[in-house]
Amino acid sequence: MPTEKAEAIVLRTTDYSDTSRIVALFTDQFGRISALAKGGRRLKSSFENSLDLLADCQIVFISKSSGLDLLTSSQLIGRFRPQPNDLNCLYAGYYVAELLLGLTEEYDPHPNLFQVTRETLSEFSQAGLVARAVLRFELAMLREIGQLPDFEVCMNCGSLLEGAKPSGFLLAESGLLCASCSGPDWRGPVMHGGTLRVLQMLSQEEGEVWRNLVLIPQQFREGRQLTTLSISHILGKQPKSLKLLMLSVG
């Protein structure tokens, strides 16, 4: 039973007994884990009240071959601090946690996604970029789990998705169809060329380009449609926290 150290973000805590709780954590090296924090509900414990939702922690845990891991200590790196008096920033944080819980597997490491998660959560300390940061996180998530559409080529004929005619989004295959492959009778969601370019830039792993991107309402609407449909499709339901979240272009 090896003892492991990791940096971790708290995704969910569930009371287990009078004093203990079960904590779902997204770690930098191990992906998502579930661990029992004995005494984790007490005011004075080896967890120092660090196990609040979305807090960023330095943890030590014992990895068990079956069942729950055992959390032995946790120190706070930083609490999640959504912009004060802005519920939307808080709900955006809940949404990030819900996606990590629903779309990643235990012990499936995603170090890039961990980094993006940290950046995204710190973005919610100001209301300004919430909508874009959420979209960027959703795209990073889809890429990590292999469900991000290719925004450049038609999945059917391989031709470049260019020009004025909108592409069709084929949800079941998470791919895009050029205008001639989707055909005049296409009734599914459509994505305009500008939307695809913007989504392409937002989904780039590196750089800060996304911060300065200005989305027009059509691009924002189509982009949200693509991510929401994809995520709901994979989860088999609409994420609960998405219902509370109000995202608008800006």
């Binding site: 287990y16 509900r41 807090a55 808080l90 946690a97 926290s241």
Partner: protein
């Protein structure tokens, strides 16, 4: 955690298996403890075991949320709501009845309470509609309440719930305060001691 025996395959038969399964579903009771409790209920005098069963039935038949504040009671109104010495214009908002008990134990809060029945926690499937919020808004509007004290737990979800309620009451002519931050952030009221809670109530500040 050890995997419990399938209820149908319990060595004493499926009825004992079902009891063990029920007991194990209680908070903090693992498989082994459930097994021991079931054994005790079989070993003790029959009258004792049946009295236990009756206590559960009676409690569930008699105890219900107070229609005014959602505290638990066996009466039409709970003891606090019925108490004429209580200040009717002051209401303290808590998540659960057990938080009310913790604050009551300080003996210094002169007002009434409003129990939400949880906190907004979409990750656990709890949204604003699942809490006793309509009743709160109605109470504040119709009962001339002058001060609402937020005593949700001092953690992310508790604070978020308090903020939601503050927005909900923004149109009403009511003063909104919160407990002083004597209790560590990230914790719960349940584990704070009496003095800490008393200090938090005395030092309450504008939201």
């Amino acid at each position: 955690m050890p995997k419990p025996v399938e209820p149908a395959h319990h060595p004493y038969g499926p009825k004992v298996g079902a009891l063990v399964e029920r007991l194990a579903s209680l908070p903090g009771i693992g498989g082994k403890t459930a097994e021991r409790l079931a054994q005790h209920l079989l070993d003790c005098p029959k009258t004792e075991a049946l009295a236990f069963a009756r206590a559960i039935t009676d409690v569930r038949a008699a105890v219900h949320p107070c229609p005014e504040c959602f505290n638990l009671t066996e009466n039409d109104l709970c003891d606090i709501c019925r108490d004429p010495r209580r200040e009717k214009h002051l209401v303290c908002i808590v998540e659960q009845p057990r938080d009310l008990l913790s604050l009551e134990a300080t003996g210094i809060f002169p007002g009434l309470y409003h129990v939400l029945g949880g906190r907004i926690s979409p990750l656990n499937g709890v949204g604003p509609d699942d809490l006793n919020l309509d009743a709160l808004v109605k109470r504040v509007r119709d009962r001339g309440i002058q001060e609402v004290v937020m005593a949700t737990n001092p953690n992310l979800e508790g604070d978020g719930t308090a903020l939601y309620i503050t927005n909900l009451l923004a149109e009403q002519p009511v003063k909104i305060t919160r407990l002083a931050r004597g209790i560590a952030t990230g914790s719960v009221l349940e584990f704070a001691n009496r003095e800490m809670l008393a200090d938090a109530l005395r030092g309450r500040q504008a939201f």
